[in-house]
Symmetry: C2
Subunit: 450 residues, 2 copies
């Protein structure tokens, strides 16, 4: 298991660090994969991180390690390492990863680095920095194989042997016309299968998916996943091939996207797990709670309005939390199902009626069942005339309304092109709180005649 | 955008169906990618689905379509189509997908299909069916290229041209010894780069990641993502190469895993969005709400216990929802951060103290701020001596305790090897409700002296 492997590695390295066994440390660090090292770094003191980082001989591995680390750690490390060493590492990295790292640094630092970097490499990185972070342009790599359509299979193979040795994913060969415009695609495999003299245009696939540089990265990821391809070509305004987005980046996008959605639903906003700072986390979570707080104040005003009735039958107060809570939970279930369904494409905005009806039905059935259960509890505990009826009916209403709002709100948000994930969590539970409390007291007033 | 594309396609097909324009329909259906067709199918009546399915000429496309459809739809379609046709389609499919589909069917139907399928294909599929659904064995494809270590690059290329034409992802060439044991890996690209006479053993990578057939699929996915590889070889107990898991399946695993976690956190359990049935959804959500309901009843008993005090100061009731609600929200934030952090590997179970301390700090700071805010509101609205103080302090306590429980519970669950995702949502909010209400009334009793 990865987890056990990490544990053993961390313990070994910590022991060697304590003993100061530098030779053994150097050996182990240089034998370990960068991805594994990054897992170890999280458990080490900053000084030890620098010590280990400087022990790595392979410059490419240094780069991989920096990309794998979380944001805060990688920035700290870069700030602590000599400018020359960092530039050397960045120059060896795939330019999308280098651009990503440089984009995180302070402007001062990043300018100093860009200036130092050799002309060519730096221009590539600078170009990538001009695209939005979350667009196809921002995540593409400019390393791809592009050949003219009359190149023969034999010449194509030759060019692989001579020119394109540093291309990250040489599985697709893109075919371009004389203006660099994308006209087709072939694969390394087809090259070895066709007779060597066949020109690319004879066997290339002309029906090629491509994406525009400013397409949102999540959309790009969805295309790659949908068509099960290993890379998608990125074109500019003139349909010129400028880069490719590879499947390993797509995996990262999906995982990050899922994390973002989950955190947004819980009202933890854009708080990446990267953030180590308590104050930063506090600042991110604050506004989501503010909505909740205002909702709570409104609920308290409603309860205050009914205080005359409450003072006549104080037991009514005892069931507010369970009614509001059950409503809130059903609302969360509905909104979560809808938000995730929209994100994965299983639910279509067009099917708003169908989806909302289904959720209300579920909420209503669950409301009836739990309304009955709670009525029995109330009857058994208090046996006050009509109290159990009022609590039971309120429970059913609260749960049905919560399912309605939990499904309707995210659908409406999606229609209005607002991220539906923010319509859940605190938002739904707060509205449910208000509506539940109001319904409960209205129903109690009516049934109990107070 | 994919969404617009779907919309146009759906509308066109619906229009053609209404008009009965069969020739045009056939044309469009055969021109459209299976992944796009699957998106259309969700919006069509069942009869139209069958009509379109039968129009598809390419058997492979039929298979792809069946794999892309959601569970319920694919089962319905298979049940409605003649056995011979289905068997023909299944035989053309990659055997992991075929096994997946057959595994979903009723035993009767699947036995009939397996019997009909030709010996060889069926044995492959039957073998796959013996592995657990969620293991490397269950998701692997048995189509891979395995060569002996003394094969030359030239012969390897020849074997690609002659034998391995149906291999799904021919990017890695696995090298095995005479017993079929995995000893190394090379790539298609290296074949064309080295001199043709070089034997594989001279340039293969011997340090090859492999996974065991019974490794959990999420673990497999994490390995593929961690090392940025396109496929990972699967070996049996004797280290014999028996299949590979490809990166496209890894993407699906991650998306499904994220969906499951999200639904579990919201207490919608294993409810996949696939489920169209209201009753089935109700049954899945019921138990999660039951926990909540019991918690609510306990809270009502606590409030009942304090009813003497409540009847003396009925305004106290007005702030129960906001105190419990804010606590619940902070608890959700903490538990979500921790659960997702554990899932993505950003948070380590070993760091329990660090994580919990951080969350308590955030909860405490947020509690102080919102405690102050709510105190001002109470003071302004009611100006009852000590009421604002009691509400403010209770808010701070509730939020701090919620952060503590929201972070501690999932960490403890993870330590006890229980899925931490179920420790959130209903679970955390329910406990927070109980604790908040209790603290609130205790503090009020103490401060207000009633």
């Amino acid at each position: 298991m990865l987890r056990d492997r990490n544990k053993i590695l961390i313990e070994t390295i910590k022991r060697l660090l304590r003993r100061g066994a530098l030779t053994n440390l150097r050996k182990i660090v240089n034998k370990t994969h960068a991805a594994d090292l990054s897992a170890v770094f999280g458990s080490l003191a900053f000084n030890d991180q620098i010590k280990l980082f400087n022990m790595i001989k392979d410059i490419e591995k240094k780069g991989n390690l920096l990309s794998e680390l979380d944001e805060d750690s990688s920035i700290q490390l870069i700030e602590a390492i000599a400018l020359d060493d960092i530039v050397e590492v960045l120059e060896q990295m795939p330019s999308d990863d280098a651009a990503d790292l440089i984009g995180r640094l302070s402007e001062e630092k990043s300018n100093a680095i860009l200036e130092k970097m050799k002309k060519e490499g730096s221009r590539e990185v600078e170009n990538l920095l001009t695209y939005g972070d979350d667009t196809a342009g921002g995540i593409m790599v400019p390393d791809f194989i592009a050949l003219k359509e009359d190149t023969t299979a034999r010449d194509a193979i030759k060019s692989l042997q001579e020119e394109h040795l540093d291309v990250e994913m040489p599985f697709y060969l893109y075919v371009v016309d004389e203006y660099g415009k994308l006209v087709g695609v072939s694969s390394l495999r087809q090259l070895v299968v066709v007779p060597p003299d066949t020109p690319l245009k004879k066997f290339m696939e002309t029906n090629v998916f491509s994406v525009h540089t400013n397409m949102d990265q999540e959309e790009v990821a969805r295309i790659v996943a949908r068509y099960d391809i290993l890379a998608v070509p990125v074109v500019d305004d003139n349909n010129r091939l400028v880069g490719i987005v590879t499947v390993d980046d797509v995996i990262d996008i999906f995982r990050r996207e899922a994390t973002e959605d989950i955190l947004k639903m819980a009202g933890a906003g854009e708080e990446f797990i990267e953030t180590q700072s308590v104050l930063r986390s506090t600042r991110i979570r604050f506004p989501w709670l503010f909505v909740s707080c205002i909702g709570g104040v409104i609920a308290s005003l409603i309860i205050g309005y009914f205080s005359g009735m409450l003072s006549k039958m104080v037991y009514l107060a005892a069931f507010m939390p369970v009614i509001a809570g059950m409503g809130g939970n059903v609302g969360m279930q509905s909104s979560t199902i809808v938000v995730r369904g929209l994100a994965t494409g299983r639910i279509n905005i067009r099917d708003i009626m169908k989806v909302v009806l289904k959720e209300i039905s579920i909420g209503f059935i669950l409301g009836l069942i739990y309304g009955l259960i709670i009525s029995f509890v109330v009857e058994y505990r208090y046996s006050i005339e009509f109290l159990s009826l009022a609590v039971g009916i309120s429970m059913a209403c609260s749960m049905s309304l919560a399912a309605l709002m939990g499904s309707l709100l995210p659908m409406l948000f999606a229609r209005a092109h607002i991220d539906p994930a923010i319509a859940t969590g605190p938002f739904v539970t707060t509205i449910t709180d208000i509506v539940s409390v109001f319904c409960y007291f209205q129903i109690a007033t009516f049934l109990l005649g107070i």
